[in-house]
Amino acid sequence: MYPLGKTIYQSFTDQEFLSLTPTKWVGLQNYRELWHDTLFRNSIWETIKFTLITVAFEFVLGLVIALVVNSSFKGRGAMRAIMLVPWAIPTVVAAQMWKWMLDDTFGVINDLMMKIHLISHPHAWIASPGTALGAVAAVDIWKTTPFVALLLLAGLQVIPQDLYEAARVDGANVLQQFWKITLPLLKPAILVTLIFRTLDALRVFDVFYVFFGNRPDTETMAIYDQSTIVGDGHVGYGAAVSVVIFLIIAIFVVIYVTASRVTGENT
């Protein structure tokens, strides 16, 4: 807790790293500057876009995978082990793997997509601004979807089977069973998963940094903050950025919790 308090304190000062002038209390100065900081505003927007894309894909794909793996078949244990593997490797390593696969001339993704005639000529996925965000999102989706699926799978397995029996006896088809039984009962697991993933996505750093370094048009909030503090040594200003990031994340948590309460009352 101490570092968090210290960060909040620093955000009201003009502290500079290794500076000779003593640190002064500057009140809300940092926050006023931050309000007009277009680079930071872009980074917020970039991060939120990334969050929406990845969380949506990971949730839908993860749910499908969880439903598939939940039915009994041979090799289900092996399947679960396979799904855990992308989660365990370092994000930086995953980013490097994909950077190589997405390489514009020697990458396998271009080659595969040309073979099935999805694209007519190789793309520079990472370099061109139009596809850069999609490229990083693809890495995150690959790395975390199986993990999301595992969390949802754990939720699926506590749903009692006789509910489905009863529904079948009453003549409910598979879709109805899904909407009326699976989804409502899975809601706690879904909520936890979504909160976890959103928090993670909002503080994304590794993948973006490996792919783009400090390229200004693809900075996330965390990268902007890190380069402000460590790169430029503006500790006070960076602390203000940290506090704002913290608040943005808190807002998302509040939205989730209230949304779940509202829908909880309706059902």
Partner: protein, 304 residues
């Protein structure tokens, strides 16, 4: 429910055709077909990137940078592995990461289990307050305390040392460890402990001889999760480490540059060989302890 059932009946009819198919042996395979295709697709999606890493690590540099792409190396070679292992900063990084992740794991388990002993087995004022404080610490993002940590670490003269990383990683592994181990401690029945006290055991003996063996599964899970998160961490390593001989694995994997200085600026073959070296132990660990990890993760998620 009867009204709902009546409304449903007309839609339910196609199901019976599927059922008829199921009676027939070939029909059964036919019905299950799309399902297995889906399973295979999921497996390929998860595993193909790994295949590509392995393939690239055994492909000679010349063949890596030429089109058309070879999907299987025609002249497999170990040159990339030799290259990666002869890079000093990479072998140093393996050692550094082992030191950092190992100490973080041991320290979190030692501190975490004694804290869990206090929080889980004794009643005292403000216990639930402490627990919620610990829980709230697991939520705030690493980036939020970067500035404060940065200045703290420089005043402690830890900048560019492995100590800086151990210190900062503990801030994140400890709350999680304490939280999970406390919930483990709480589920244990009190009788065993009481029996031990009646026999004249001291609290310390109870902790060592009775409670620790009982929460061993929890120790394995949380220890492994702490190890993985310390092994994989990048943001703090990037910020607090400068000299290449103090690099950790994630820093090292992004630092390979071609020593030939030729047109191929990035030696992808070596990077992929290094990737195999880094991921192999993790994969083995994960496969062996698969069940434990899933249990630990879902426990953390459901209770957290």
């Amino acid at each position: 429910m009867s009204t709902a059932a009546e409304a449903v009946r007309p839609i339910a009819r196609p199901v019976s055709r599927v059922r008829r198919l199921r009676k027939n042996r070939y029909g059964r395979v036919l019905v299950r077909m799309p399902f297995y295709v889906l399973i295979a697709a999921i497996a390929v999606y998860c595993l193909f990137p790994f295949y590509w890493v392995v393939r690239s690590s055994f492909t000679p540099e010349v063949n890596l940078f030429q089109t058309p792409i070879q999907y299987f190396p025609k002249h497999p070679t170990l040159a990339n592995y030799r290259g990666a292992l002869s890079a000093n900063f990479f072998t140093d990084a393996l050692l550094n990461s082992a030191i950092v992740a190992g100490s973080v794991t041991l320290l979190s388990l030692a501190i975490g289990s004694s804290a869990a002993f206090a929080l889980g087995r004794f009643r005292f004022h403000g216990r639930s307050f402490v627990l919620y404080l610990v829980l709230s610490m697991t939520i705030f993002p690493q980036i939020a305390i970067l500035g404060a940590l940065y200045t703290t670490i420089t005043t402690l003269n830890l900048y560019d040392t492995l100590g800086a990383l151990i210190f900062s990683y503990l801030i994140f592994t400890l709350p999680f460890t304490i939280w999970v181990l406390t919930s483990f401690m709480r589920t244990l029945p009190g009788d065993l402990e009481e029996a031990a006290y009646v026999d004249g055991a001291t609290p310390l003996q109870v902790f060592w001889k009775v409670l620790l063996p009982l929460i061993a599964p929890g120790l394995v899970t949380t220890g492994l999760l702490a190890f993985i998160s310390a092994w994989n961490e990048y943001l703090y390593a990037l910020s607090f480490i400068q000299s290449p001989n103090h690099y950790t694995v994630p820093l090292a994997i992004t630092s390979f540059v071609s020593n030939t200085g030729s047109a191929f600026a990035v030696p992808w073959g070596q990077i992929m060989a290094a990737t195999v070296i880094i991921t192999l132990p993790l994969i083995v660990l994960v496969l062996v302890l698969q069940r434990r990890i899933i249990a630990g993760l879902t426990a953390g998620a459901v209770k957290g």
